[in-house]
Each structure stands twice: as C-alpha cells, then as structure tokens.
Amino acid sequence: MTDTTAPRPPALWRRAWSFALDIWGILRRPSSVFSLGILVLSGFVAGIIFWGAFNTALEFSNTESFCTSCHEMRTNVFEELKTTVHYTNRSGVRAHCPDCHVPHNWTDKIARKLQASKEVWGWLFGTINTREKFLDHRLELAIHEWARMKANDSLECRNCHSAQSMDITRQSPRAVEAHQRFLFTGERTCIDCHKGVAHHLPDMRNVPGWQ
C-alpha cells in the first residue's frame, strides 16, 4: 500500500471521489419512487431507532459496570469507594460512579461525555495503568473534579443532598454550625469542605484549607 512508484493510489482516490459524487447526486435528486409520506414516515422511524440506540449506548456508558470494566477504575478509585459511606451505609442507599461524576442534565452530560474522550486516550496509552502512575496523577485528576464541582455549585452532591431537605436538628453540633455558617449563607459549596468523601485524598499540601 505504501508503494509510491505506481500511480494506483491517485486512481483509487479518484474512483472514491466519483463514487461520493454519485451518492451525492442520488441524495439531492427528488425521489421518483417513494411518496413524501413514506419518506417522512421512514425518516421518523429511522430517527426513533437511531435515537434509541444512541441513548442506550449513552446509558450503557453511564453504568458502574462500564466504568469499572477498566482496571484503572476498578483497582484504584472503585476499591477506595467501597470503604466509604457512599458505598456502604446503614440504609443501603448508595452512589454509583456517574451519580457524582456525570452531570444528569442532557446537554451537560453530552459535554462531559465529549470531554471524556480524553480519558479514552489516556486509557489507550496507559497514562495511569499502574498504581504508581495513578498516584502521580491523582492530584491533577482530583483538581479537575473539584474545579468542575465548584463551578456547578456542587450540583452532583445536591442531586441527593438538598439544603432544603437537610434537617439540621438531626445533625451533630459541628455539622449544624458549619452548615449554618457556610452552606446556608452560600459562602461555600459542598466540595469546598467535603473533599475525599468517596475516594482517598491526593497530596493535599497546597490545597486551600489543608495542611
């Protein structure tokens, strides 16, 4: 295929181009066989099928089993999650990966999914494919997530933990005071104080509020 002496590649290219032109000619010619109704209806049905397939694929990529199918996620962050209250607790209500890491709104979700193509790249080239590499990158990864949650006012926390439904009379005195001073006044958002609630922390030396 890399033979450059023969004039075949240009010929192949020209043939492909003429084929594309043919297709384009068919596409822009009005139909002489199918009625407009059939075309509209079939377009509608095809649209439903395409949308269904797209959404199914999207939802599949939004499951914990998909996230933990890579060993980077399974052996690092998922193992850490298992020890925390977001995985095991008295009532058995738990958070799955996308509950916190993928926005639930459609447009935001698509934006995040597009962003995640960088993560596929990282997986392909083994950026964090050992524990050591993961730990080296942990601060950077954490900073991305903190920045995202800071920017959307900890939306993913608030999908479950609503300030309106929070009964502070059932909280510990420390929590009551902190929430009254910082959460209800809007001075801070959840992630400002609640870092490392589902995974181990990175090196926190230069993170504000930490030593």
Partner: protein
C-alpha cells in the same frame, strides 16, 4: 506400707474433688465469655461514636484529650490529615476548633518547627474518639482531686 496406700488414696480423692470443684467454678475468662479457647466467639456489636462535640474533662493533666466527635472516614495519611484541616493554627478561625498544642510543634531535640512535628502527625496514636461500651474490666481509677479530698487514707493530712 498400708499408710502409704492410704496416703496415695487420699491424694487421689483430693485430686478428684479439686478437679470437680474447678469444673463447677467458671473455667473461662470473663473477658472472652463461655467460648472455648480454641473457638472464636461472636464479635461484640459495634457502638456508635460519641458525637457531642463537647470537650471532655481529662482524668489527669498529661492525658491526651479525647476526641468528642465522630472521626469516621477521616483520612490521616502521608498525603492528607483531616484533623489538621480544622485543628491547625491557620484553620481555627473557620472551624472554631481548639488549636493543636504548641508542644506538638517541637521535635525530639526540643526544636520548635513552623507546624506540627512529624512525630506528632498521626493524631489518633494518642487522641481517640469515644464509644459507649460495656466495660469488661472495672476501673477504680480516681483523679488527683478526689484523692486529695479524701479524709483518709492517702487523703489530705
């Protein structure tokens, strides 16, 4: 000869009685309960951590203060120290928590450092949260004030 046999029988009898008595008396440690030594008993149910946030009295002046709040899920590792994010010098304004003692800034040569000394970094080596538990061994410790206020003995003379 006969006396020898008598002594032997008497000794045998005594041995039998004492084994019986020993069997009647609790043959197990009170701490482990009636579980034979080669078996593992059921674990005691876990109790919730005390979470009053009210500082407790120290039993003696040198006692490391106990932690009056829950520390569940608090990471204290080489990378992060959750305790210090409230109790560090620079953090007490936000947290209103007691600052770690200045004695904790001193290294083992008596040199005072800018922040907590590495030998004091792992807080829960000395400071521990409290649980309400059934005490397996009674403790008759009395603090110095109680001791001094006693009439006698060992009280104020």
């Amino acid at each position: 000869m006969i006396s020898h046999i008598r002594i032997f029988l008497a000794a045998l009898f005594m041995a039998g009685v004492s084994t019986l008595v020993a069997a009647q008396m609790a043959p197990f440690s009170e701490l482990r309960g009636p579980i034979p030594l080669d078996e593992e008993g059921p674990a005691e149910p876990m109790t919730p951590e005390q979470n009053t946030s009210l500082r407790e009295v120290r039993n003696y002046p040198e006692q490391p203060p106990v932690i009056p709040h829950s520390t569940e899920g608090y990471e204290v590792s080489i990378r992060a120290n959750r305790c210090l994010s409230c109790h560090a010098r620079s953090r007490v304004r936000d947290s209103q928590a007691p600052m770690i003692s200045i004695t904790h800034f001193s290294d083992r040569d008596g040199q005072y450092l800018a922040s907590i000394s590495p030998r004091r970094y792992f807080c829960t080596q000395c400071h521990v949260p409290q649980h309400n538990v059934r005490i397996p061994v009674e403790n008759d410790f009395v603090d110095i004030d109680t001791l001094l206020s006693r009439e006698s003995p060992g009280g104020r003379r």
